[in-house]
């Protein structure tokens, strides 16, 4: 609607000429200060922040202070000023951060706050002002954004700056010329038609049933359902389907090039909008189209192929994963699975790296599934990653290789075990244990010399458990040698148990010697922990000769040895 309003800012009148103010202008100034502050805090803080909440409360308080006296605040707006009843109530000469300028530049010349605006509409308005400050000149301006909200307590007058070139249509000059229409023919025609109308079967429009034009309940229900369907429809997916159809049906190279360009552009939009299901759909269909269209040009084929490649890029995928991990609500599991299924095998390293990093449990679960799937179909990449510099990635790769019992992983694992950093050596030992192939055992045998106790323990346990008799001499050397004395109880136990498993009855003599010693002096020179471990090992062997050796030592003076013997005799070592 159009109203008359001076297009220029009213010139400041002499104070004496101004109308009486129903409330003190200081209250309006205070209100606007709080308004400006609330806009800033809205930009800087989240709604649950106390600073933000205080700013909103202060602004509401400023409104509350004036409502008993006036029902509305009408502000005239110039480039640098808000005026109320002719008085300047906010003056900001610099355009940067100027509140009047934010309104003025988009054509708003008058703003009216009505009582009630301090309710829900206030935050909506602050939100719009925040958005409009961030937008580029190309994007929606304040007028458009205000229109989209139907304010009940905010009124504004504006000049539509962008619409000043339209010309109002006028009637043609000939319209007003005096002239006469010959009606003879009309009368004649009417008479003829009348005769025809009298014939049976002729339907006059006027006689048509008027109810044909009114919607019945069923029709209204149909429309309601259609509108509801429209509102809940997946528009992005719909448009993607349209683009894919255009690509397939309209076979010219130029069209396909344009559509692929749109796909590339759209992919980023979809990611930004966190519509991962749509991303997955696009990538999946891109693959399907490549297979379905034999006439596809090499260029189009390559650009389609690059869509998942782009997503799988070393800079893009981490961002995607970060965004997913930061998201307040994680997409449905099937969307995540669908999306990750489209990732290229080369992204395995990135995915593996995120397994430990991801804070979100659902994301981790989805990534676990993805990692398992990718690892199973891409052994080469998996093997390459065993030697990754990022130990987290390397360890995950080893874990996957172990789960898959990938024989090809043994060599790189052995390499890591031989010369890798400590954490990697531990992982490699564990992985080799699970793979348990002869090659893996050989690698573990070498690890008995590792500087790290955990690596040695893992290796010796694996060798014992798998009965890798080739390792017996090394194990025996440890068990009977001096080095074992410096080992802790766990390592001692691991070695003695492995020795029992590998040597069997042939080891009884050595173990008996350690437990029972030929003289008191010798027994004293062997520490009780070692003797206790020898007792446990004899129990593990469990033969009559082994049990006899145990019984001979059953009244040993050392309580730890006696306890071990008792357990071994009861079968506790088993």
């Amino acid at each position: 609607m159009s109203v008359s309003l001076p297009t220029s800012t009213p010139i400041a009148a002499e104070a004496s000429e101004l109308p009486d103010a129903p409330v003190s202008p200081q209250l309006i100034e205070e209100l606007l200060r709080h308004f400006a502050r609330a806009i800033k805090t809205h930009q800087l803080y989240l709604p649950n922040n106390p600073i933000y909440q205080r700013a909103i409360e202060n602004l509401r308080g400023a409104f509350a202070a004036i409502w008993p006296s006036i029902g509305e605040v009408v502000l005239q707006i110039s480039e640098s000023e808000f005026r109320w009843l002719g008085r300047s109530v906010l003056h900001e000469p610099s355009r940067a951060d100027s509140l009047p300028w934010v309104f003025y530049k988009d054509g708003i010349r008058e703003l009216t706050f009505m009582q009630g605006v301090e309710g829900e509409e206030l935050v909506v308005l602050l939100d719009i002002l925040q958005r409009v400050r961030k937008t580029s000149p190309e994007e929606d301006d304040l007028l458009t954004l205000l229109w989209e909200q139907e304010f009940a307590y905010l009124r504004y007058r504006f000049i539509d700056i962008s619409m000043d070139t339209a010309a109002i249509p006028q009637a043609s000059e000939a319209a007003a010329e005096s002239r006469t229409i010959p009606l003879v023919e009309v009368r004649h025609e009417v008479e003829e038609e009348q005769q025809e109308a009298d014939r049976p079967g002729f339907v006059r429009l006027e006689e048509m049933d008027g109810t044909l034009y009114f919607l019945d309940e069923q029709e209204i229900e149909y429309l309601r359902a259609e509108v509801h369907k429209e509102q809940s429809a997946d528009l992005r997916r719909n448009v993607l389907a349209i683009l894919l159809d255009i690509f397939e049906v309209q076979g010219t190279a130029a069209v396909r090039t344009e559509v692929v360009g749109i796909f590339e552009h759209l992919l980023l939009h979809l990611l930004a909008a966190a519509d991962y299901a749509a991303v997955a759909y696009l990538l999946r269909e891109a693959v399907a189209i490549r297979e379905r269209l034999p006439d596809l040009s090499p260029e189009a084929r390559e650009r389609l192929a690059r869509l998942p490649e782009g997503l799988s890029g070393p800079t893009v995928l981490p961002q995607l994963l970060q965004a997913l991990d930061d998201a307040q609500t994680i997409p449905p599991q099937e969307d995540l699975d669908a999306l990750f299924q489209q990732l290229l095998p080369s992204t395995l390293g990135t995915v593996l790296g995120w397994l430990k990093q991801a804070q979100n449990r659902e994301l981790r679960t989805a990534l676990e599934r993805t990692a398992a799937r990718m690892a199973s179909v891409n052994t080469a990449e998996l093997i390459r990653l065993i030697a990754a510099e990022d130990v987290t990635v390397a360890l995950e790769a080893m874990r996957r290789a172990a789960e898959l019992k990938t024989a090809a992983a043994v060599a790189p694992l052995a390499k890591v075990l031989a010369s890798g950093p400590l954490e990697a050596r531990q992982g490699a030992a564990q992985a080799l244990t699970e793979i348990a192939s002869p090659g893996a055992m050989r690698a573990l045998e070498a690890a008995l010399d590792d500087a790290d106790r955990d690596v040695r323990v893992t290796a010796v346990r694996a060798l014992g458990a798998r009965g890798h008799r080739a390792a017996l001499p090394k194990v025996e050397a440890v068990v009977t040698g001096k080095a074992v004395r410096d080992a802790d109880l766990t390592e001692k136990m691991a070695y003695f148990e492995a020795y029992a498993l590998l040597a069997g009855s042939t080891g009884i003599e050595q173990l008996d010697g350690l437990l029972n010693g030929r003289s008191m002096l010798l027994r004293r020179r062997i520490d009780p922990e070692t003797r206790a471990c020898a007792a446990m090992a004899l129990g593990r062997i469990g033969s009559e000769a082994a049990l006899a050796a145990l019984r001979r030592a059953s009244d040993d003076k050392d309580v730890r040895v006696r306890s071990a013997i008792n357990r071994a005799l009861r079968g506790g070592a088993a």
Partner: protein, 491 residues
């Protein structure tokens, strides 16, 4: 309908100052008031007056009315045709308040009441008396019924209401609405022309202006659609591409309003409708302007415009959000409800209700317009009939029905011969929804054929003292045949 070279002369105008938001409060609270009245009408029928449920609803009405009056200083409920106005603001109908609006309109109409002013603070008792009388109206002409109801109110000592019969909007308001409509229409055509010209020059047009003009059209349709619908008769041959897009937008938004879409839904629909043919900007002008038949290749090129429109919409600048709905409308507007038509699709899809609306509006405006390859347009009545009875057109029949209800038997701009042998142009559908074949007309020549300009408005539901209709349409005529430029009477 119009002379082939007709082009309304235009005059430049300075930017107008416009106002928004002044009716937001009225709409919000007016709607609350009507819903409360509707609730009370129901409870009053079910329970005795002293029932707490009845009292609660009446107290609610009294509270809303008193608050409203205190703020706005006046409260006037006016029923005109299928619309309800609170003060000067037309309330919006949507699918969620269909039943309440329909009931209130029918109760007011039965009682012969077109106007009810609340003069001062009201109480629950005032409202129960008023609503009870409203639901048991006396018989007679509307004026008599309204008078009788006013007398009964006075006899009951109720003085807070002023009751009147149905009345027309005053001339000043109509003139204002017409001026606003002309400005909106002119801006819309200008922006559409700019957008299409930009595309033809290989530039990326900005969507900001498109949004702005659609906002104007939506506001106009929601407040007073008659003036804007009248301007769709400005079917300029030279400017067909632009005026057609604007007309389709106007028809679609008006139809969407009739179907109960919300303001933002109308906005989405309007953007889709205005841009539905944007793909034609990629079709060579010599094909677009070719008179006579097109070759197969040329026809194929024309048929590509729906999908080319989708691609073009991706090129628009200044998009905060990609206009997905507009793209779907551009793609589907030549599809039939069984998804035949063009362009071809491969993946399964369902046709959007927005596309169905635009398809109807598009077909109607195209068939009734003169174009390079259609020198003799069909009459609006024939087009409506065809859309309704010919299933091969593939229109959604419920949407068609609603469209016919919107434009009436005789759409705005139709030239008709009256039984008085006066010629008249249909100005607006009748305010009485049942009087579908008795629209408001502008008489443009007297019974001797003397042309009148700007003519005289006449309501074809008007009766003479004997009870018969004063005037009745006997025939639809071709304006070209009489050298009548329909658009002249709507600007």
């Amino acid at each position: 309908m119009t002379a082939p070279t007709m082009r309304a002369p235009t005059t430049p105008h300075p930017p107008a100052i416009e106002e928004r938001g002044s009716d937001g409060y009225v709409r919000k609270v007016g709607r609350e008031l009507l819903l409360a009245i509707y609730g009370a009408l129901r409870t009053v029928k079910l329970y005795p007056p002293d029932n707490p449920v009845v009292q609660k609803t009446l107290d609610e009405i009294a509270r809303i009315a008193t608050d409203f009056l205190r703020r706005e200083r006046e409260l006037e409920v006016r029923v005109s045709g299928e619309f309800i106005f609170i003060n000067a603001t037309r309330l919006r109908l949507d699918l969620d308040n269909y039943a309440s609006f329909s009931r209130i309109i029918s109760v007011f109409r039965e009682a012969g009441v077109g106007l009810c002013r609340v003069l001062e603070s009201s109480a629950a008792r005032d409202w129960i008396v008023f609503l009870s009388l409203l639901q048991s109206p006396p018989s007679g002409e509307p004026d008599d019924r309204a008078r009788a109801l006013a007398e009964k109110l006075a006899a009951a000592g109720i003085t807070v209401f002023e009751i009147g019969p149905p009345s027309q909007v005053d001339d000043e308001d109509q003139e204002k609405a017409r001026e606003a409509a002309k400005r909106t229409y002119a801006q819309s055509v200008t922006v559409t022309r700019e957008v299409i010209a930009s595309v033809r020059m290989g530039k990326s047009p900005n969507i900001k202006k498109i949004k702005r003009v659609v906002q104007g059209i939506v506001d106009q349709i929601l407040n007073e659609d008659t003036s804007l619908l009248g301007l769709t008769t400005l079917r300029d041959y030279d400017e067909y591409t632009f005026t057609h897009s604007v007309n389709v937008c106007i028809f679609s938004v008006a139809l969407g309003r009739k179907l109960g879409l919300t303001r933002l839904q109308l906005y989405d629909l309007g953007v889709g409708a205005l841009m539905h043919d944007i793909g034609k900007a990629r079709v060579p002008l010599d094909i677009i302007n070719k008179a006579g038949g097109l070759t197969d290749d040329e026809w194929r090129t024309v048929c590509a415009h729906p999908w080319m429109g989708v691609l073009q919409l991706f090129q628009m600048r200044g998009q905060n959000e990609i206009p997905y709905r507009a793209m779907i409308v551009a793609f589907e507007h030549h599809k039939k409800t069984d998804l035949t038509g063009y362009p071809k699709h491969v993946r399964p899809r369902e046709m959007s209700i927005y596309s169905k609306i635009v398809a109807v509006a598009d077909s109607f405006d195209a068939a009734t317009s003169r174009r390079s390859y259609q020198t003799t347009p069909l009459t609006p009545a024939d087009v409506l009939q065809e859309m309704r009875v010919n299933p091969r057109r593939g229109m959604d029949q419920v949407v068609v029905k609603a469209f016919m209800s919107l434009v009436g038997h005789y759409p705005v701009g139709t030239l008709v011969v009256l039984d008085t042998f006066e010629l008249a142009l249909v100005h607006a559908p009748s305010p009485e929804p049942a009087a579908i074949s008795r629209p408001m007309v502008r008489i443009i020549s007297d019974d001797r054929g003397n042309v009148l300009f700007p003519g005289v408005l006449a309501d074809l539901t008007e009766r003479d003292p004997s009870g018969g209709f004063r005037r009745t349409i006997i025939k639809v005529a071709d304006p070209d045949r009489y050298g009548i430029r329909v658009g002249d009477y709507f600007v």
